[in-house]
């Protein structure tokens, strides 16, 4: 039994590391549709992680959360985003405030920051794994960074979704899932936020003929 749970926690660690890997791929990726595909891949890994946690802790409500991740984040949201992208004229290279190598270095720094912040917290609670909490924090920070570093609305949305994935990983790995009602609320929120941001992006495209959010700063009354 001890052996099984230690293999299980190693598998969760492995999945968390895979999640971090997909984060870096998203930061380095310049093409919008590929970013969305990578987000779908990340969500699929998150689905596996959540299912593993559910199996190891035998808490059934996490299965429901994992299933919702599978349906909403792997299938529905990427489809919505793909539809939005189809409507836009920016399919090729993304515009960023920092170039890719600098962005990667900053993300590396953020990961280290997350590890040092999480280091004193980890021994305090009975955690399944040692590093998934730190990785969850790192994913949240990278998601935030993506939102800041990219100029276009859709890629900022991808950053938001990555951030949310990090929060979900943190919630499942550290506290074995939030109450189901909260979980459902969060999923509903994310779905609606994506839909609204999608519509909003289309409106931006119609109004400015571009989805560069920097242009919003020149709006005056």
């Amino acid at each position: 039994m001890q052996g099984l749970s230690s293999i299980g926690s190693q598998l969760i660690d492995l999945c968390s590391a895979l999640l971090l890997l997909t984060c870096f791929a998203i930061v380095a990726q310049r093409r919008l549709s590929a970013c969305v595909d990578l987000f779908a891949l990340q969500s699929a890994v998150l689905f596996v992680t959540a299912a593993l946690v559910a199996y190891l802790t035998k808490s059934h409500h996490i299965y429901i959360a994992a299933g919702l991740t599978g349906v909403i984040k792997v299938i529905v949201i990427p489809r919505v985003l793909k539809k939005v992208i189809d409507h836009l004229n920016v399919k090729r290279e993304l515009v960023m405030h920092v170039n890719v190598p600098t962005g990667l270095l900053i993300c590396g720094g953020l990961v280290m920051l997350a590890f040092f912040i999480a280091q004193p917290i980890i021994p305090l609670g009975p955690l399944l794994t040692r590093d998934s909490l730190a990785i969850a924090l790192a994913i949240v920070l990278i998601g935030l960074f993506t939102m800041i570093a990219r100029q276009q609305a859709v890629s900022q949305l991808v950053g938001f979704l990555v951030l949310e994935n990090g929060l979900f990983l943190g919630a499942t790995a550290a506290t074995y899932g939030m109450p189901l009602v909260v979980e459902l609320g969060v999923f509903f929120d994310v779905l609606i936020a994506t839909l609204i941001a999608g519509i909003y992006t289309n409106r931006l495209q119609d109004a400015f003929n571009s989805v560069d959010t920097d242009q919003l700063t020149i709006l005056k009354e």
Binding site: A17, L20, A25
Partner: protein, 316 residues
């Protein structure tokens, strides 16, 4: 003593025999995914035999570097291959050098290939050498850091010791994160170093894209055969390294006929699986623009660095 020599000979034979097969397999997988039938798996062997029979043509403007390079490249990569465990975890040559020697033996071959590209004085050769220099200078730090991350988790820089310990699961730090980061970094480095698709396209002679092909453009006959074979060997060395360091399943840890048989089979299956995966990647991705290659190798560098730092943060 006799056994050691026999094992060295066996490993050399395996490496030489497997490398054209891996090249052929990648081409075959690519062809099948593009709904072509593709050349047969023994085609690279036939190509090598044909090239060895042809008379080489050497430009009169070249120096001794041009004729010496194929032998230097071939010998350095083959020596590097003898340091990497293939079917047996304790390679007979493991006293000769560790993983850092391996990296710089490969770099020696690259260096002479760049010189040879410049030597003939053709525009393409110089262009290829210049590009190879960019790629090589970016892959080296990533590769060294990835290798250090692995070496730290195993407490040794000797590839044989690393593989042997991992295969027997003895006193290693079992944290998957540093390993996964190092694996991803090393895989990107392998793609770049062996001239595979996101960095270089081995199937084209289009002047805008070629790197490795541009450097060997002036070669013909047995020199070209040696260089092609060396390129295949380099692929085999990288795939053996990745397969045996990260997944040493089935590798022979003792010298018994049964263990060696299983080890050989496992080796061929693992490297073939990796080669097929590279074939799939070549179909899925387009070649990157030359100045975007830095992004890809930047990812490799950051991942390797994180792997290294994870080791320390997880240890403390």
């Amino acid at each position: 003593m006799l056994l050691t020599i026999a094992l060295i000979a066996a490993q050399t034979t395996v490496l030489l025999a497997v490398s054209p097969f891996l090249v052929g397999l990648i081409r075959k997988v690519k062809a099948r995914l593009q709904l072509r039938r593709g050349a047969s798996l023994i085609q690279p062997y036939a190509d090598l035999i044909k090239l060895f029979r042809k008379q080489p043509v050497i430009s009169t403007t070249t120096s001794w570097i041009f004729t010496a390079t194929p032998y230097i490249v071939f010998a350095s990569i083959l020596t590097a291959g003898l340091l990497v465990p293939t079917f047996i975890s304790q390679t007979p040559m493991n006293f000769a050098g560790n993983i850092i020697v391996l990296v710089y033996l490969l770099a020696l071959g690259t260096f002479f290939l760049m010189l040879a590209g410049l030597d003939a004085g053709s525009a393409f050769g110089g262009m290829g050498s210049s590009r190879e220099a960019i790629v090589a200078s970016l892959t080296e730090p990533a590769m060294i850091l990835a290798i250090f991350a692995i070496a730290l988790t195993n407490g040794s820089t000797n590839v044989s010791t690393i593989v042997h310990k991992t295969a027997l699961m003895e006193d290693i730090v079992t944290d998957p994160s540093p390993h996964l980061m190092a694996l991803a970094a090393l895989f990107i480095v392998a793609l770049a170093e062996t001239g595979r698709v996101p960095v270089d396209n081995p199937a084209t002679h289009l002047e805008l894209t070629m790197i490795h092909e541009a450097m060997v453009l002036e070669y013909s006959g047995r020199y070209l055969a040696l260089l092609e074979w060396a390129a295949g060997l380099k692929l085999a060395v990288f795939l053996s390294l990745i397969a045996n360091v990260f997944a040493p399943w089935g590798i022979a840890t003792t010298i018994t006929p049964a263990a060696i048989g299983i080890g050989l089979l496992a080796y061929v299956v693992k490297t073939a699986a990796l080669a097929a995966f590279i074939g799939v990647i070549e179909c899925m991705f387009a070649k990157l623009r030359l100045f975007r290659v830095t992004d890809l190798l930047g990812v490799a560098f950051i991942l390797a660095l994180l792997g290294l730092l994870f080791f320390y943060t997880l240890r403390s």
